[in-house]
Symmetry: C2
Subunit: 248 residues, 2 copies
């Protein structure tokens, strides 16, 4: 055994023109979409995909995502994403990613944390007993040289922006899709900041669901020269997601 | 010759989960993105792609798009898009599309109209002299059984919605990307309408560009029981796009 190359899934992409920002580089929200799709493909190929789980009335829930990048694919550039399972605990699993440029060189990494819940009770399922514990057989020690998602806490009392949830925000589960939050959060920053700097690290913590017609309030705190903490609260006080954006 | 099967490009897709709406069907904006990508692939394979044009300081500009559908792919469903050139005129070319379900049966069609402009003067180029007129060799008489894009004129004076353009709306050309308008226009309708009905036909006419920080005003007029005309104007009066949405 060489450390489980067969445990790593690799998926190819092209940076499509309408998925790139003004700089001609892939947007963070589209990269996030690709990461979550790769998680889905990798799990499905191993019998832990959404379709199989849904038959058994379970579903994966994304809890955290952290992405750290040295570069972003350019318009029309081919790139690939590798994904593998780092840890399986009773209630959570850690899934990591590497983003490789068109020469196969890593240009970034990502970490994600997932829980599995019952679609009926919304209670967490025990991952270690799922399919007789077979998910643990996919754990792999491939390196992921970026920090784990940290804690974000925002004290700011005045929202920077508010947004009423609309048709295109809502996914098949009836709540705002995980990718749309990324887009709304990055839209808090002026385009001039993206002209001067690029995103080095981006973190999301998914705390609660929000629904059609909910009003989201966005609170932002500058916590370092290039570092911002963001909290999104719905209908007054309930925290929906927390995020950290580090530019460089 | 059988009518030019080699002139038709066919491209495969899967309806990704974050590209589907609450009903689990692909959204119109994502379908629009795929259509425009297919146009790009098909043109590039025949020497008329953006990359080649840009080298010569020309670029394609989308003028009109009309989509008419009997059905929409479901989450995880495979589907394909065919595209071909119907006509080439001096200043415009008509490109059509068929959307096929996972059994290869057409579930919809689309029509688009494109111009080519000089990136320096922004003036239109003569398509009939491009590459010695060779683009006309790709014209194909495959059937596209939907009506051509019509004229939309909105008299409504009170905007239904206004929106200030943000970072994620802007593409590499520095203006709002064609797909984002589709998303903003469909977000004018309450989710309840999409629960009762589905979009039968959708039209877009791209009239002028809009830029970061511009404020877009959305005017909507109900012109039939299930038919709405929409006009988007920037900074007061300048028309940016017009659209028609027919539900059934």
């Amino acid at each position: 055994m060489t450390g489980g190359e067969d445990k790593v899934g690799t998926y190819k992409f092209v940076a499509e023109p309408f998925h790139c920002d003004f700089s001609g580089r892939l947007t963070m929200s589209v990269l996030g979409n690709h990461l979550l799709n790769c998680a889905g493909f990798h799990a499905a190929d191993r019998g832990f995909g959404m379709a199989t789980l849904n038959e058994n009335h379970y579903t994966w829930v994304l809890s955290r995502l952290a992405v750290e990048l040295e570069d972003m694919p350019r318009q029309y550039e081919e790139f690939s994403i590798q994904t593998w399972v780092e840890n399986v605990y009773r209630l959570f699993t850690d899934r990591n990613f590497a983003i490789l440029n068109n020469e196969g060189k890593p240009i970034g990494y990502a970490r994600s944390v997932w829980a599995m819940i019952s679609m009926e009770t919304r209670k967490p399922a025990d991952l270690l007993t799922l399919h007789g514990g077979s998910i643990t057989g996919y754990v792999c020690d491939k390196e992921c040289p970026i920090g784990k998602p940290g804690r974000v806490k925002v004290a700011e009392k005045t929202p920077l922006f508010h947004y009423q949830i609309r048709y295109s925000d809502i996914d098949i589960n009836g709540h705002v899709n995980s990718i749309k939050y990324i887009e709304h959060i990055l839209d808090l920053f002026p385009i001039g900041l993206f002209k001067e700097k690029r995103i080095k690290r981006f973190e999301m913590a998914y705390v609660a669901e929000s629904y059609y017609d909910d009003t989201l309030n966005f609170y932002r705190e500058k916590v370092g020269e290039n570092e911002y903490d963001i909290e999104v609260r719905k209908n007054g006080t309930d925290v929906v997601v927390r995020s950290k954006v580090i530019f460089m």
